[in-house]
Point group: C2
Chain length 149, copies 2
DNA sequence: CAGCTAAGTTAGTTGGGCTAAGTATGACCG
DNA sequence: CGGTCATACTTAGCCCAACTAACTTAGCTG
């Protein structure tokens, strides 16, 4: 019951597969919750910082990328700004748009949190067999395709 | 940047793999958010209802299973009770414990939401090739093992 | 029975999402 | 060139979901 450890593969029927995927998704969500609790930034904040790694972005871009409404992103950025992790700027070509970019501290925090997360995930992955890791690696592109309708 | 569609598999090194998994996890979280928004129960409520499918459970069990503190589960169950989806009971052997079980309406709601979710996921899966579905099915047991340290 | 432990609840705070409404700037058109 | 519409954000107010601290009630144990 509600245990995703035996999804019985070998059956590639979409209906049956959907139930297995659903159970695994639930498991992964719980896993994520546990591994991100108590970090110096929440998982949402971490995700937003990640969007800023390549340079300044506008509010609308950020909201769209994270699938939230603009007001939600405004509040999110307010918090990050208060924490000194990002800074707002202006677009010289259009006075309506606000840009957001990482501060030095923000970039440092991003990298630190990323290192920690990757390390923790790496530990879990090391517990797998080589064969299992290959299986997982092969499935990543498929998972990435999901929902790109 | 931040696009998980090209995780470059074939490399089963834990470190490299961890980054790919991390990116895909982020993608799946966004996907989940989009597909569960505006449903008749939130994804948390749905998860709790799912825990009750096999029969009554105690508060502590539920909190533990969902990796939340007891007060969080109390509030959660309060809402579900107000909505008429679950009912509280008592343990005859220990007057301290409260049990929680599905009402008829709760069970109906659970099944309806599950059908909807499975159906939506099934659509995504149908868009994949047979080969991709097999790859995904093979990876499910591996994903389920993650975090079972 | 006194005192500790265990199970839940209540209260208060924070984060994160939403809609509705407001402000300011750009764009377009008569 | 001025009025109107559209765009980019922000503000305000709501709900859900997580947390800790503190309280109540019930069981357990010396």
């Amino acid at each position: 019951m509600t245990d995703p450890s035996a999804p019985d593969p070998g059956e590639a029927d979409p209906g049956v597969l959907a139930e297995g995927v659903s159970a695994v998704l639930r498991h992964l969500v719980l896993l994520l919750r546990r591994t991100t609790a108590g970090q110096p930034v929440t998982s949402q904040q971490y995700a937003v910082l990640g969007s800023l790694e390549q340079g300044p972005r506008r509010m609308t871009e950020l909201a769209e990328e994270h699938a939230v409404q603009l007001p939600t992103m405004t509040v999110q950025i307010n918090r990050l700004e208060d924490a000194g992790l990002v800074a707002r700027g202006a677009d010289p070509a259009d006075a309506r748009v606000r840009t957001v970019e990482l501060t030095g501290e923000g970039r440092a925090r991003l990298l630190a949190v990323r290192r920690a997360r990757i390390a923790r995930l790496g530990q879990d992955l090391e517990a797998l067999t080589e064969r299992e890791r290959e299986t997982l690696a092969a499935a990543l592109p498929v998972l990435a395709k999901l929902g790109r309708t």
